[in-house]
Amino acid sequence: MKSKYEVLVIGGGPAGALAAKTAAEKGFSVCLVEKRPAIGAPVRCAEGIGKEALAEFIEPDSRWISAEMSGAGIVAPDGFEMTLESSMAGGKVGYILDRKIFDRELVWQAADAGADVYVKTRASAPIMHDGRLKGAQLECCGNVSKVMADVVIAADGVESKFGKWCGIDTTVPVREIMSSVQYVMTDIDINPHATIFYLGNEVAPEGYLWVFPKGKRAANVGIGISGRKSGKGHRAKDYLDRFVKQKFPHGKSIECIIGGVSVCRPLECTVADNLMLVGDAARVVDPLTGGGIYNAMFTGKLAAEVAADCIAKGDVSKKALMTYDREWRASKMGKSIERNYHIKEYMIKQPDEKLNAIIHSVSALDLTEFSTLTLIKELLKANPKLLIELGALAASIR
């Protein structure tokens, strides 16, 4: 490990990997550190991503694709299931990944591009000089070292600390953390090409329960509930265990995955002098779906592009790095987060009867395009009153 890099990336998930790869490809010296001993493990994810979204960053590869999706189902609180089938060419709209292999591939690509990679290496403190971030103290197997960097990219995930140490408030409101548990289950009867979402205050309060296929008879069966609905005797695990016992009594769990997913608004500002926050650390998870893989790769790549530009110009001040903050907010991803935040806020306030009515109304429609936005648009068409209830937001959806 060198003592000075142009870019130091903290965290080896999709955000950190894309940041490191992008900066290294541009010829900058890059160091990526991952506190865990292995890239990709433990998994903290339901592993779903849209086909087109993924293609923006990497060629699909069967080594890290567990299953291909051609449809989806939404189960209303009353048990009624509406199904969505893709009419697009090939019929495939999304993938369920194998994040252990996928994340490893992304970091591998960053390493191939020239980035130095260190695992079981944790950033334990920022190095500040005259009030400016100069690098990070790293700890690996009892050894403490100091690494200087022109720009530090914090890609340290939902449990992010680096931003906080540098004075950025990254605290997620209790009601906006999805307390989540997931089992990788085998030997269960499922539709192997459709993701199923279960809604309802009895099933998953202010969240949803999912069945994401991983094979013919295997799936990620998981749940996220609002932190404010969580407590002794009614935690995410309690809800999931009840569902599994009833729905898949003979299934076998071969992995238990636990995690927190933020569904709050993104950080007010995702940069500081010499510092950029990306992915879950920047709280850019889609607040409606809880999906974060694409947003992580998008912000990771964009941050590195802006960092490279700023380093080349010799100005890595907050003001210069703000280009990154402005660009992701103005992007399709940024707008989608803002829009979906409003929809999420609306949906979590609905009683089960209203959710039933909404889902029944949408199921009667013939959906030709397959996306969250299309679904929302059709939902509004079928429920004109929603337009009024959603207020100002409606204009951005039409």
Binding site: R44, T171, V174, V181, I258, G260
Partner: protein
Amino acid sequence: MITNPVCKRSVKINETGLQHISRMLNVHRDICGYCGCCVSVCPEGALELIDAYLSVEENCTSCGICAKVCPLGALEVVHEK
């Protein structure tokens, strides 16, 4: 420095101001899945996920927010009068 306490104690005065109540955050390490959900909601920044264990720093106020959101119920605030 890295510390890895199983619990941290903080002393608070209750609403009446007359009685001292001691609260303590216990981390049940046999239950914890070291997922970091609790770290994200801690208003004091007192929690840190260090690979496979949770670290509780001195500034923990035993507010219990982390205990509430934990997907597995690994955190517990213990009240002692």
